[in-house]
């Protein structure tokens, strides 16, 4: 019973749904960052699975995945800097308590 492409896609889709669940329901800034990282990892798994299973591919899917990892690192750094600045300003990182720009 060989492992086919669909197995990897099922894992990727489930990871994506779990990441989406975290982003949709949690209000802690750092927890939402964890959800975003899960979503990015699911996309990476997709890319690498297709790179392996498509006939006649060079390492293009792997390079795409390397770029995604790089961008995720840059985005995590900036997002954490923003969370720290929010914490310095409001003393909380529950994102629904930060409403000073509301009417």
């Amino acid at each position: 019973m060989a492992v086919t492409l669909e197995h990897y896609l099922v894992v990727s889709i489930t990871l994506f749904s779990l990441g989406m669940f975290i982003v949709m329901t949690r209000r802690n800034g750092i927890r939402m960052l964890m959800g975003v990282e899960l979503i990015l990892n699911s996309a990476n798994l997709n890319l690498i699975a297709f790179n392996r299973y498509l006939p006649g591919m060079d390492a293009s899917g792997n390079i795409f995945a390397v770029f995604v990892i790089m961008l995720a690192a840059a985005e995590a750094a900036v997002a954490l800097a923003i969370v720290l600045a929010i914490f310095q300003q409001f003393s909380t990182i529950q994102l629904d308590e930060i409403s000073s720009m509301k009417h």
């Binding site: 492992v3 779990l18 293009s60 792997n62 995590a76 954490l80 720290l84 629904d96």
Partner: protein, 182 residues
């Protein structure tokens, strides 16, 4: 050989999905960060099983050694460990329902679509990808490579500027000035 491949895949997939679910449903933030560690390691092993050795190692180095450490720093600096689902239960139920619907729609699509791929690429040789990626990064993908390095520089400077906060203005010394004028 095929059976061993399947067993390893199922173990790794179970590790990845179980720790991702623990990250999603745990109410302790530090527990969630550590189960995310297991998710990243399991995913790196899955990448290596798919023949992407360079991506697997850079996943461990960048994600576990960089991003996860940053997340733990954030957790320790902001000090909010117990952050449960603060929204009302109804919002969580609606989100879970929408996501279950999404799963129920996407999973059959995966099995119905003719992907046109090889069923088992075991006949494709597993070679080291580092040389191929190195060559491609400097020939075909040179422009994204340079732009990505520029973007990393911008992100580094921007993160330092944003997290630094307001610099304190130097106190003006008024007494000496007034006596000097008078």
């Amino acid at each position: 050989m095929d059976a061993l491949h399947s067993i390893i895949f199922y173990i790794l997939a179970a590790i990845v999905l179980a720790s991702a679910a623990f990250t999603a449903f745990s109410s302790n933030l530090v527990h969630a960060a550590f189960s995310l560690l297991f998710t990243f390691f399991g995913l790196a092993c899955l990448y290596i099983q798919l023949g992407a050795d360079f991506v697997g190692v850079s996943q461990v180095v960048v994600y576990v050694g960089g991003i996860l450490v940053l997340l733990l720093f954030g957790v320790m600096f902001t000090g909010s460990i117990a952050g449960g689902i603060t929204r009302q239960t109804i919002q969580t139920k609606w989100s879970a329902f929408i996501l279950v619907v999404l799963l129920a729609v996407l999973l059959p699509i995966v099995y119905v679509t003719p992907w046109g791929v090889m069923d088992s690429p075991q006949n494709k040789e597993l070679t080291s990808n580092v040389e191929v990626i190195g060559k491609l990064l400097l020939t075909d993908y040179l422009l994204p490579f340079e732009i990505a390095s520029l973007l990393l520089l911008i992100a580094l400077v921007g993160a330092v500027v944003i997290a630094r906060g307001e610099p304190k203005a130097p106190e003006p010394s008024e007494d000496e000035n007034e006596t000097a004028v008078v």
